[in-house]
Amino acid sequence: MKISYNWLKEYIYFYLSPQELADKLTNVGLVVADINPVDDDFCIEIEVTSNRPDCLGIIGIAREVGAIVGGDLHSPKTNLAHPTAENIKRVHVEVEEPILCPQYTALLINNITIEPSPDWMQKRLKCVGLRPVNNIVDITNFVMMETGQPLHAFDFDTLADQKILVRRALSGEEIVTINGARRALFQNMLVIADGKKPIAIAGIMGGKDTEVSESTRNILLECAQFEPRQVRRTSKELGIASDSSYRFERGTDPEGVNSASQRTAHLIRELAGGKIAGSIIDIRSARHEKKKITLRIEMLCKVLGVEIKVGVAVDILKRLQFVILNVVDNFIDVEVPSFRGDIYREIDLVEEIARVYGYDNIPTKTSIQVQSSLKNRYEIVEDCIHQSLIGLGFYEAKTFSIVDTSPLQSINLWDDKDGIDIANPLRHEESRLRTCLLPSLLQAKKYNMNHGVDQVRIFEIAKVYLAGNEKLPLEKTCLSAIADVDFYNLKGVVEALLSNLGIAAECEWIPYETSRSILLFKTGKVAQIKWDGNILGYLGESCESEFKPPPCMMELDMDLLMEKSNFIKKYKNLSLYPPVFRDLAIIVNEAYLWSDIQRCIKYTKINFLREINFFDVYRGKQIPAGKKSIAFNLCFQSPDRTLSSEEVDVELQAIIDSLQRTLNAELRKI
């Protein structure tokens, strides 16, 4: 809210420069965002938090200044206006919805003269950012800025049947508001209507047809209370926010209606020459009940961690215009002023005292009980993955969880369901929760390529969101990576990572292809990785043709990694006896895979074989078409003695025999 420095001074004496004032206000919770000189005045822009509608009027700010510097408020002048007009026109006011409109007052003022408002008023309004219109409009705005209570003036002679009805809109009704926009109204909205049609959206904006104009002679001044939530709902639904709705939705002073109306009438009589016709019509369904709260000094000190004496607390509360009903021992009974709707509990009083006492004056305690904390499993696994991948040259990326609905972004490797849509997206580009991380990483790869970076090696740990039968979706944490390396390189990364995570058992690498996977991976160069019957993830070469050579990528189930990782380590004795190595190259049909060779060797009962290490596959001149040569190294070792060359040869021959028998393998000389 913008206030004028000079205007503020009309309600409270203080000797503070604008900057000093700003610092003091900031320290009690009214953050000053900006100070700007305007002519001989200063416009001070204050960020008023949503719990403090009482500070949406300059008098409210003056009260806060009073609490800071001490001193009494000067209330604005109001001469009670007695009815003075001879021909009192009758106006009929009815409130059909007393809950939504707890108080409605109307005051008829005759024979006004529309003209520009006086310079001093225009200056004040301009300083706080309001555009002067004419004296009547300006006066209602002036009083709203002064008191925080919005008001509205209707051109009385335009009201059908001289009637005001506060009711819900009827189906099919509409209104043209003073800003010229035509609005369709709905039955859940509260309107002010005359005998025929809505003339204002209650608490939000008046209608064009009944607004004060050059030719207006008689006005009906509305000053009312509207239920905050109702105003907020309607304002949101219609997309109209006004200075009025801003205040009503935060809550106005339930005791402030009559005085604001009188203050307005006073100014209208003075500046527009009007005559008050009849007394104020005041329809009020409920009296405001003053809240009474007891503050325990013990609680105050316990929450704040500082000794505050009863006298100090009482003084602060008085300055904030709380009525002290009783002080017995360490209990203070107070009555809350009507404009402080935000205060209804003891803790609210604690905060009031704290902010005026000064947060700076509360000590900074440094004794805290010792408590140890341990990393949880997720953190341990995440750390291990970070360390492993970073060591292998990968950079961590972060991409958005909300994506578009394109086929590529709709890929879901984990189930058949579609992604979950956002009901109120800002843009199509961010309208669905993702089911796969890889499309986002591909985008990052593309972004880098377009910026001249060819070599990308990134990973991300983030969630995918899978629709299920529960109210909330399953949030599956995935580990995905994309890198400008070949399939076997990235496979090596996965194997190194699993080894670091203590996942010992070997994975199955299964050819994979679905209607969805072909949007991501090149056919024939993608594997589903299974581990102990569980799907661990997917790895393959990108099918994007614009990447040359194509990068490889993977997406793993991090929840599974977390479950299966094992950081318990046991030392195994180092063998005292030397290993014996033998290289072997065999020629087999293309159809036989490395896994077939491994399996064949494993099923051959070999006593001392410890490791099989692949090192080369060769197709070329000496190898017949449709066949390939595969070379590997075999390591033999005994835990309790040195193996003789003859012993190893016997085992090697057994392996060769088995390969020949099972895979029709041919031994190749190397």
């Binding site: 900031t26 320290n27 009690v28 919770g29 953050v31 938090t49 949503s50 719990n51 905050p228 907020r232 939705e249 935060r250 316990k302 929450v303 704040l304 961690g305 500082v306 509990r345 803790i347 604690v350 905060e351 704290a354 902010r355 947060y359 700076d360 509360i362 000590p363 900074t364 305690k365 440094t366 004794s367 805290i368 904390s373 949880n376 991948l389 040259g393 990968f394 950079y395 961590e396 990326a397 972060k398 991409t399 969880s401 909300i402 849509d421 956002i422 009901a423 109120n424 800002l426 929760l433 990052a444 972004y447 910026h451 970076v453 090696r457 983030a462 969101y465 909330l472 979706p473 949030e475």
Partner: protein, 338 residues
Amino acid sequence: MHKDLEDVKKTFQRDAGSVVVLKDAEFLKTKYLGRKGIISELMKVIPQLPQDQRALYGKEVNTLKCEITHFLDDMIGKVSSVASPETKKEIFDITLPGKHISIGKKHPLTQTIDEIKEVFARLGFEVTYGPEVETEHYNFEALNIPSDHPSRTDFDTFYIKNDVLLRSQTSTVQIRVMEKQQPPIRIIAPGRVYRPDTVDARHSFMFHQVEGLLVDENVSFADLKGILNQFIKTYFGKNVQTRFRPSFFPFTEPSAEVDISCSICKGKGCSVCSYSGWVEILGAGMVDPNVFKHVHYDAEKYTGFAFGMGIERITMMKYNINDIRLFYENDMRFLSQF
């Protein structure tokens, strides 16, 4: 050792220190070990010495001679491999660049989260996580943000459907933890949050927060100031000034916003701190009794404080990053800088 010999030894050590090329070493060899060198000069003194000192002196000169010889031979071996420009031999060029080995890095936002986690871990806080897709209960009601309340304006939210939304703050985790666990509680909860903000240099519809919560008997606002001060001094440096000022959050009372003195201008005022000298770094406050009511804690017995901070904001301040979008573009030239 004889005084003269000691002097020679010292001089030699000084001379030896300035040897760079072969020539220098050869010069020293002549100077000390040559026919008219210093050592032979020392030998010449022997006959003039008293009888009883000759043997010892001779032995000492010999030892010194051996030392110098060894040292110079060694040195000649070393400096002669630093070849002079005229040499024809193939040279191993040790100044060629090393073979490129890539080592990755954590995302700068992860680094910030890790650093914050680390500071709070030392203060006994444990890390907890919560779901990103939440119900209104956890995102609003249990946090004392009723529907149609103006405070919801500060928490614009993406909805999935009625009552299901993307959390707009990590405070949701407070409720999830307190529902399951009795005090004492000391947790921090980092994670992604979402708000329908149009993306620009300062805003993003997705960003990261770290939430903290401490609940116990006799926890006061003074403790809140203490812990957060500890954190700020550890994380931002001992000389940083802090300012706690009253604010409003529906789930805390009293509430505070915490500013630190601007690191760019040292509090004098600059564009980074909007000429105020202060930069807002976190929101905090004593847990509102209404929040305790939702999780069935006795607000007479327990008090606590909560705090939250934006990771992007802190990271941008720390590295002087001027555009939040850089964090999600994943440009390798950006990621490799941190």
